[in-house]
């Protein structure tokens, strides 16, 4: 089970500058835990104090915002792609 994670520039201090890293996990929560284990501090940036996904971070699995999938319980399959993007407005 190999999941690719796209890391935004601002968080690459945790990954030695790597833009894409690989983690494992059957759910998004497990993948974030694994991210934290491999790159200490990175997983924690994605969650608030109560463990929910942080308000200004959007997490996508295969381009879909996980808030509309299963949140952190979203199931992952081998080859899935996670992307982390800061919230941006337009207009």
């Amino acid at each position: 089970m190999s999941i690719e994670v796209r890391v935004p520039t601002v968080l690459r201090t945790h990954t030695d500058g790597e833009k894409r890293v690989t983690v494992e996990g059957a759910t998004l929560a497990e993948a974030i835990d694994d991210l934290e284990a491999r790159y200490p501090g990175l997983g924690d940036r994605l969650r608030d104090d109560e463990g929910n996904l942080a308000r200004f971070v959007n997490v996508y699995v295969n381009d879909e915002d996980v808030r509309f999938l299963g949140g952190q319980q979203t199931e992952l399959a081998d080859g899935d792609q996670i992307a982390i993007l800061p919230a941006v407005a337009g207009g």
Partner: protein, 315 residues
């Protein structure tokens, strides 16, 4: 056709056109061409509503100066209506918008303040807020937080969609201020709660997200996420590919954010999400004119075009 007293009355009532060649089998895609508005974008609706609301509240007087943060289209729309009604306009524009947007604003005589590229639209919001605080004479309608924005989409955009496609089953629109999705989507669901609403969110290159601190993200106050059934990001490559297909296969010349929305409509047109036979209304925010300088429509190597495009705010 119709006769109007001035340009601000000619907003809305845009055409809805079918996409017979790009509709996945068993589904009907329709595109609402907001590029047919007076300054060429969906933002004419918002600008008119913002100015009408400020006038109704007594905040605007002859010669007043309006201030607004915008990635372009709202500024151009405000320029036209402010000209027609005798107000001056200052816009705060990220420095990485398309050249045409800046040129149009200059043509209208708008006072332009630029905000840093690596802060994107969030930076223009920050700078405009600082300016408004420092000068109480500036009138900032603030499209990101003004209920007149979603309200006009409920009153006009949604009403027009329901008139043209009474049995519409799903809506797809881009996510910028959230005004189109919140206003139109909410109204469509009030009319029939089984309807689905999907957001197409632009995904840019690293420059746009650059140095942004994750803790100072900005979610527009008017955006009601509860109206959505899904939110799908679309990168510049996919937006460009679908924009080109619209031109080549349907003869429709539109901006990149329309390509992104049609990409999402095609993705959600599956029995897992929508019953066969569903009619999907897609909002096309603008035509392609303002993006010619990006090379998006030229025969060149798409990869090289995307390389340039992904750091430009195309939505």
């Amino acid at each position: 056709m119709a006769l109007y007293r001035d340009i601000s009355q000619a907003v809305g009532n845009t055409p809805m056109v079918g996409l017979p060649r790009l509709s996945p089998e068993g589904y009907e895609l329709y595109l609402k061409l907001e590029g047919h508005n007076p300054t060429g974008s969906v933002k004419d609706r918002v600008a008119k509503a913002l100015i009408d609301a400020a006038e109704a509240e007594g905040r605007l007087h002859p010669g007043s100066r309006v201030l607004e943060p915008t990635s372009g289209n709202t500024g151009i729309a405000l320029a036209a209506i402010c000209t027609a009604r005798g107000y001056k306009l200052t816009v705060v524009l990220p420095e990485n918008t398309s050249r045409e947007r800046t040129e149009l604003l200059e043509a209208y005589g708008v006072d332009i303040v630029t905000s840093p590229a690596d802060e994107g639209s969030n930076g223009s919001v920050r700078v405009a807020r600082e300016m408004a605080e420092a000068d109480p004479d500036l009138v900032m309608p603030f499209q990101y937080g003004n209920p007149a924005n979603p309200r006009t989409h409920a009153a006009t955009t949604a009403t027009e969609i329901l008139a043209d496609l009474p049995d519409v089953g799903a809506l797809v629109a881009g996510l910028g201020t959230g005004g189109t999705l919140t206003g139109t989507g909410r109204r469509l669901k009030q009319d029939d709660p089984t309807r689905k609403v999907f957001a197409a969110e632009p995904e840019y290159g690293d420059l746009v997200y650059g140095l942004r601190n994750l803790d100072d993200g900005f979610v527009p106050p008017i955006f009601d996420e509860d109206v959505l059934d899904g939110r799908i990001k679309v990168d510049s490559e996919k937006a460009l590919a679908t924009t080109r297909r619209l031109l080549a296969e349907e003869g429709i010349f539109v901006g990149l954010s329309t390509g992104a929305a049609v990409h999402v409509a095609r993705r959600i047109a599956t029995p897992r999400r929508l019953p066969k036979g569903t009619k999907i209304a897609i909002i096309s925010p603008d035509g392609g004119w303002k993006y010619l300088s990006t090379g998006a429509y030229q025969p060149g190597d798409p990869e090289a075009i995307v390389e340039e495009l992904q750091d430009t705010l195309w939505a």
